[in-house]
């Protein structure tokens, strides 16, 4: 997924013989809409319908409950730590990979994608193997520092950082690759030092890519379930929103409104993410189009 999005601006209009007759197109479009509607939209709509099934009052009651708020706070804290960390990494990695040539560059890029190919629960397991206080590999260090990782906030943050690790880097690397090094070299010729070069030349060029990566990273960070669940399942204390949803779900013997009410918060987050993402893609496309116009 790139910040330029997946649709070309002009759309796929094709000449008569290279496309299907109009009625075939109509059928296919309708079919695609129906399939998407049932497969993707229906689950999304279900969340909101079931959340409000007992009316606004019941919904509000769940939203302002203290446990909900504590879950919201924990989710926000986790994201507020994980996203900036991965943002800094993403920029650093993209800078190293796209502005220089060095041995191991493709290895590094492949390694960055590792968290994507690991099941979230397996990632949680890996953290438990490392940090559990009974026979974890790092247990002596933890005991010496009097630090608790598993079943505690640091573990949840680490799990989230692991899972959302690639997002910003994956956005920035192709983007900065396509932008090349000329502008930075020109800045150097004009006397800029490293930080000036970065802030005044590179950053403005990549700002939409950065925003795009941050949005995706954030959505995943706030929504991560498997890995965080694995490192804190027996922890009766605070839960992030997704974990809280799981707990409320299994406790809901009477009505499902509480579960879906909390879920709707994350549903709204997903919708905002999609909207912002689409807007950024549109903006990037427009800028690229204007850029190429300006050159000519």
């Amino acid at each position: 997924m790139a910040a330029t999005g997946n649709l070309t601006r002009g759309g796929g209009a094709r000449s008569g013989i290279a496309t299907e007759p109009w009625w075939v197109r109509a059928i296919l479009i309708t079919l695609a809409v129906v399939v998407l509607g049932v497969l993707l939209v229906l689950p999304l709509v279900t969340i909101f319908v079931e959340a409000f099934r007992e009316g606004w009052a019941a919904y509000k009651e769940q939203i302002i409950a203290p446990e909900t708020w504590s879950a919201i706070k924990l989710t926000l804290i986790t994201a507020l730590i994980a996203v900036p960390l991965n943002l800094v990494f993403g920029i650093a990695a993209a800078w190293a990979v796209t502005k220089f040539n060095f041995w191991g560059k493709s290895i590094l890029v492949t390694l960055i994608d590792l968290p994507f190919s690991v099941s979230p629960v397996a990632a949680g397991l890996a953290l438990v193997i490392l940090f559990n206080l009974q026979n974890g590999y790092l247990a002596p260090v933890l005991k010496w520092l009097d630090l608790k990782v598993i079943f505690s906030l640091p573990g949840m943050v680490l799990a989230t950082v692991f899972i959302t690790f690639p997002f910003v880097a994956r956005e920035l690397i192709p983007l900065m690759q396509s932008q090349g090094t000329e502008e930075e070299e020109a800045a150097h010729v004009l006397g800029a030092n490293g930080w000036q070069m970065f802030w005044r030349v590179t950053l403005p060029n990549i700002k939409w890519g950065v925003l795009y990566g941050v949005i995706l990273c954030n959505a995943r960070a706030m929504g991560e379930f498997g890995a965080v669940y694995a490192v804190s399942s027996n922890f009766e204390g605070q839960k992030t929103l997704p974990l809280y949803i799981e707990r409320v779900y299994y406790a809901s013997w009477v009505s499902l409104v509480p579960v879906f009410a909390v879920a709707s918060l994350l549903g709204v987050l997903a919708l905002i993410t999609l909207v912002v993402k689409t807007w950024l893609e549109w903006k990037t496309q427009r800028e690229m189009a204007e850029g190429s116009k300006a050159v000519h």
Binding site: L28, F198, G226, A230, A263
Partner: protein
């Protein structure tokens, strides 16, 4: 003069950025994964055999692999249809459709999970259609849904070796974007020239698609399938709520989690290692396929 040396000297920040990136990568990703691998390697074949010999573990692998396979298989034609329509036609709401494709990517897995479990369960809009029309014959295998941790009576269905439908449907939801997003760039790059040439040589539309377009896109179809499959076997949150805790419909990630919760780290590691090996082989296959196709394209 080597451009390597020139670049490093001209643009600053190489050691800083690379140093930080590698350190961070090692700490966050490599060390935990190494711990998992080391643990797995230290377990010995006996432990592996014992764990994999358990009925529950085997049935979980069966469920996960078959459901992910079926879900990815369904998503190939569905994804092709959607990618085709998005890339080649213009219609109102095209952008909206394109944005919605990423919904499974943006929606938290737990939220998707409870929503799917409800929707296809006995009380949900889709589930109601089936239960009320009396379609719950044993061979339809609603085991995935009926056995979900739902506060209603559980009916037992005879599993005649079919994949739980619930898991398959949930994985279809989850892995659809992978197929579509893999196909879109390939379809976009296909110029109209080949098809126009074929048409001018007398091929009808179906022949053109079959003989001109399909050969161009089948690598992307396979890649999309494999990505969807790989994602499907590791997916947890979206599927957890549909399968509940019934041993017959468990998925591999849940087995990993259960063992972990009971602090049976060794068994958990065994299952996780096997899962990782399967994913790794899949992704390797994708990589090789992509390289072969790239080489062919350069001929």
């Amino acid at each position: 003069m080597s451009s390597l040396a020139v670049q490093r000297r001209v643009i600053p920040g190489f050691s800083l950025s690379l140093g930080f990136a590698v350190t961070y990568l090692s700490l966050v990703v490599l060390v935990p994964l190494a711990a998992l691998v080391i643990k797995g390697a230290g377990l010995g074949w006996g432990e592996f055999a014992r764990t994999m010999g358990q009925q529950q573990v085997q049935s979980a692998f069966y469920t996960s692999l078959l459901s992910a396979f079926l879900a990815a298989l369904i998503n190939v034609p569905v994804g092709l249809l959607i990618a085709w329509v998005l890339v080649r036609y213009r219609f109102v709401g095209r952008r909206v459709m394109d944005a919605i494709i990423d919904l499974p990517f943006a929606l938290p897995t737990a939220v998707a999970g409870i929503s799917l479990a409800f929707l296809y369960g006995p009380n949900g809009w889709i589930g109601k259609i089936f239960t009320e029309s009396g379609w719950s014959y044993p061979w339809l295998v609603w085991a995935g849904f009926e056995k979900s941790a739902w506060p209603l009576e559980l009916r037992w269905f005879n599993q005649i070796g079919l994949a739980p439908l619930g898991v398959t449907v949930a994985l279809t939801f989850v892995s659809l974007p992978f197929v579509v997003r893999t196909l879109q760039p390939v379809l976009e790059d296909l110029g109209a020239e080949h098809e126009e040439a074929a048409a001018s040589l007398g091929a009808n539309r179906i022949q053109t698609i079959w003989r001109v377009v399909l050969p161009e896109i089948w690598p992307a179809l396979i890649t999309g399938f494999a990505l969807a499959f790989a994602r499907g076997i590791g997916e947890y949150g979206s599927v957890l709520f549909i399968t509940g805790n019934q041993p017959e419909t468990q998925i591999v990630p849940h087995v990993i989690f259960q063992r972990l919760e009971r602090f049976e780290i060794a068994e958990s590691t065994v299952v996780a290692t096997i899962l990782m090996v399967v994913s790794f082989v899949l992704l390797l296959g994708i990589n090789l396929l992509q390289r072969r196709v790239a080489q062919r394209g350069q001929r």
